[in-house]
Symmetry: C2
Subunit: 309 residues, 2 copies
């Protein structure tokens, strides 16, 4: 099987990867971007993006991905459709194995494999994603002005975002599978004091129903009782999972959640390996900061390569 | 004189500040963005931006600033034209003094005052900025395909960017006021080995001349000899200066260059004070990562405010 070498390889074609690709191509580095699906990453799952600066009326996730891709291609982005299944980062020449059986090698590597929201895995969830089912209150809250929405989860994110949603929605129902929240005390207290939030305890969502948008949830109490709840939106905030299956997590000193720690210049624990976007260990996962990190990562790669003897 | 209090104040209206403003406004935080000139910051000085992801054909600096401003205003950005002349960050309520004599106070503060390239201060420099005079090779190199350009400076940035420019320009002349470079050895060696780079030592630029674009430089050797050099572009890479005159640098633990260190979530040494964009102590200063940090800073501010008792 063939092995192809490039100075820089970027794994992942979401906003971080495409921005890295744009910068690498513009800098005329010998580079390759490897993406296993469609360029755009999670952005493609997002119906409408109102908070990517530069688009006053917002932009569809699909169109933003298309524009980022076209821009990188204008500067002769070199890309490959391929699924990286494993990496060997133990020597200065990094090796990547593809599902096809081919191998790639490189001097510098930028990991932008992203993350995915943890889903409920219930009927209706996939079909109504972007049509009332959301995984990001920061992104989508303003679309729910004067409506009734449900929030699923009991951690800091879920409870904080429930409070945030009350600035827009008329009523927020937080549904949690246990009888108490995991969120820190002060966050809990603020939520309990908020008259627009009510709570349904010990309850799981078993289905999300609706025709062109979310209309109701089917609920199951741990005591066996079934019920339904009419809502126009559901925010599933039960965590985010790193796309790290192909990464050597020990070498990269992955955190407890499986995300990759870096310094502020995106450098990981392995010299010559950068991580940008949602796969990074960080607090804020937004399209705009993923893109920013993609640019930073290429400059970090250039510095690393310049100092190679 | 009046003092007005806001939960969050953002000082500076460049890409970092406008993105912070967009996020704060969308989150319906009680906020105020203070800008002393026109919204857009250094972006307004940039004729054409090819590397802000989302604009396949590029976009003018003016138009990008306008779009970012319009987007934030759509979500009811609260902004004020005012010149902050000093800050008191010694207590939880931060105080800002304006040139007008009015005061502002806030619980959380995001500093996005930016930086400016150090200029030569010679005739023609201002007039031809964006028309052959550039302060950023990463941004503008591809515009100089097959042309002859000069690079001014002797540090790592100047020498690395001279090498970078040879991927596009036919010839790069590095002009330095001393007889040796400050750049690290390996960077120097690569530049000396590059046949497309020549060097003019012990020489200062005294004027930049041209009608609609750069045509020639007037040079003065330290031995008193005058000469001219025909070039189509000049990259002035003699450093960048922080806009920090209004900042309490000791409280903020400013670095040697006067920039503000933060953690990767943009938090400075002062609780409740974030710094984003070019004013941050960092290696890569690009529009896209400034914008990304603006978003990160607002989420950091929200976390800080949530945990205030």
């Amino acid at each position: 099987m063939a092995t192809t070498h490039h100075t820089l390889i970027i794994v992942g074609g979401g906003p971080a990867g495409l921005t890295a690709g744009l910068y690498a191509a513009r800098a005329r580095m010998d580079h390759l971007l490897v993406e296993k699906g469609a360029e755009g990453g999670q952005v493609l799952l997002t119906d409408w993006i109102d908070n990517y600066p530069g688009f006053p009326e917002g932009i569809s996730g699909f169109e933003l991905a298309e524009k980022m891709t076209a821009q990188a291609k204008r500067f002769e982005l070199n890309s490959l459709f391929g699924n990286v299944v494993s990496m060997d980062l133990s020597s200065p020449i990094k090796r990547l194995e593809l599902e096809s059986g081919d191998s790639l090698s490189c001097d510098a590597l930028i990991i932008t494999t992203g993350a995915r929201p943890r889903g409920l895995g219930v009927p209706g969830e996939k079909e109504l994603t972007g049509k009332g089912v959301s995984y990001c209150a920061t992104c989508d809250a303003p679309f729910y002005r004067n409506l009734h929405v449900a929030v699923i989860g009991g951690g800091n994110t879920a409870v904080q975002e429930a409070a945030h949603l009350t600035k827009f929605a008329d009523k927020v129902t937080l549904i949690h599978r246990r009888d108490e929240l995991r969120a820190t005390k002060i966050v809990q207290e603020k939520a309990f004091a908020n008259t627009k939030i009510d709570f349904i305890w010990d309850t799981n969502v078993t289905a999300i129903e609706g025709k062109d948008g979310v209309e109701q949830l089917r609920l199951l109490n741990t005591n066996g009782e079934e019920s339904t709840l009419q809502v126009e939106g559901i925010f599933i905030l039960i965590g985010v999972m790193p796309n790290n299956e192909m990464l050597p997590l020990t070498d990269l000193a992955a955190d407890q959640g499986g995300f990759i720690p870096t310094d502020c210049e995106t450098r990981t624990a392995v010299p010559g390996v950068m991580a940008a976007g949602d796969i990074r260990s960080k607090e804020v996962r937004q399209v705009i900061n993923a893109a920013g990190e993609g640019a930073t990562a290429v400059l970090a790669a250039e510095n690393y390569l310049t100092n190679l003897s």
